[in-house]
Symmetry: C2
Subunit: 109 residues, 2 copies
DNA sequence: TCATACACTGTGTGTCACACACCATGTGAC
DNA sequence: GTCACATGGTGTGTGACACACAGTGTATGA
């Protein structure tokens, strides 16, 4: 594996954990999969649909999200939003992220 | 899985990608496994030996680290430090981390 | 008919944590 | 002096699990 591939693999790894946090945060207001993906991309967090959809289902099965299958603009879409438990977990994850972030700043300094 | 375990799993996931970055950064100056672990713990990044050692070997096999088996204080230790390629990758990862960090700040705001 | 919007699945690969194994050295109890 | 034990130090094997890739499929409007 060359340096480019090595870097790319590590980049993905680094980005990985932040996906959940970003998704949870965005779903404080209701969104459906596609619009969520677009919104996150605009903020600089891009992910494949094949990453996002399984993630949403996983988070829902963990009780952090609730979803509703609804029609809007003549299309059926699955709308997700944060559950109460999801809010609690998001708050804790946010705090944890601040901790990690601060630690990394120290090490990288 | 209760909320506590769910959070713990996500916390680990969030921390995951930062390990490589922290290790690479710390190895800008030479260290052996144990001292590296202690140093990182002091900065708030704790990891098991069974996580650290395989990680070190992996990074070395990717050419990002070099190691040397040396005796110090009557004990044989394996000393690691960043290779030139490692420095390059570290710089790029650092930049990428800043990007992700900024994106998360936006989403979390 | 072709692009875009939208949702989903199956599989492969790779990483981390847990539990464990192994050896060396210093130290205090007896 | 020797035995137990903590501490320092380096590893392995396995299982769980998450992401990315590639692909499937439907609906809509231009």
């Amino acid at each position: 594996m060359g340096e480019a591939e090595t870097f790319e693999a590590l980049r993905l790894e680094l980005r990985r954990g932040s996906l959940v946090l970003a998704v949870l945060a965005r779903l404080r207001s209701e969104q459906y999969g596609y619009s969520l993906r677009m919104a996150l991309a605009e903020d600089g967090i891009e992910m494949e649909e094949s990453t996002l959809y399984p993630l949403l289902r996983r988070l829902e099965s963990q009780g952090l999200l609730t979803s509703e299958w609804r029609e809007e603009a003549k299309r059926k879409k699955r709308f997700y939003r944060l559950s109460a438990e999801g809010e609690a977990v998001l708050a804790r994850l946010h705090a944890e992220w601040r901790r990690i972030s601060a630690s990394l700043e120290t090490v990288l300094a």
